[in-house]
Assembly symmetry: C2
DNA sequence: CAAACACACTTGCGGTATGCAAGCGAGTAT
DNA sequence: ATACTCGCTTGCATACCGCAAGTGTGTTTG
């Protein structure tokens, strides 16, 4: 658990994947958090080998890979949602207020919504 | 958020505090995870300065300090509970099966229970 | 078709954080 | 008074990280 989740970068990648629709190496890289390329490559590989994300070639551009959440990764949704809630409450959060408000009004249905979005892809 | 939570050791300390009733330096140190003393001292200080735990002298033994969760720390309960659930589902977890079963049957009331236990101390 | 470019990495290097063992000062037990 | 406990602090070797540059494969452009 903590080997995979207890790492800031891994969590950020999962978050980008889950909430922001980012899915390729460059999209993660340019996500504003300034992760180094070697660290990103390493974390993606770990996330893959721990079965949280899956990697496949982009069908439209063969140099590119597409990363997606596995079932195990999708199951992290409640956890990330709780992180967002906690941050919103106790720290100046960077999360979009729109999402925060939505989660605050109904956590469970928001989780169900995220799950539904991913259901088609996995 | 990730500065405080995105660190494995900090999370373990909060967990020990929240679920296992550990509250002194030595109790954290001998919690089986083999954290180094310098790291433990550093993490406790960070947790304190970020307002997640509070430190005070033990009234029965003046060499000892007692650490306890603040309101901000207690609010991490749902998050830790979700971690336990996720681990129980996807990894061979080290969490006591008894607790896991209890959480599985009713997450919200378990969280309320933890909160209640801490209410008296804060 | 060749040259330029994009993408996902990999490598080298200097700096920071970590693990380990030992030590230290204040307080307690004998 | 002496030995011991507790919560650190210090020194040192190793591991990890951030940054910049380079590599190989695949794609676009003239």
């Amino acid at each position: 658990m903590l080997e995979t989740i207890g790492d800031p970068w891994s969590l950020l990648i999962v978050r980008d994947l889950m909430f922001y629709g980012r899915k390729s190496f460059n999209e993660f890289l340019n996500a504003g958090e300034k992760i180094a390329t070697n660290i990103l490559a390493d974390r993606l590989q770990r996330l893959e080998s721990s079965g949280i994300v899956a990697k496949q070639r982009d069908s439209t551009d063969a140099r590119r890979y597409v990363y997606r959440l596995t079932e195990k990764g999708i199951d992290l949704t409640p956890l990330l949602v709780d992180m967002i809630l906690w941050s919103a409450r106790h720290e100046k959060t960077a999360a979009p207020p729109k999402i925060v408000r939505k989660i605050l009004s109904d956590r469970d249905s928001y989780i169900a919504e995220v799950r539904k979005e991913w259901a088609s892809q996995s």
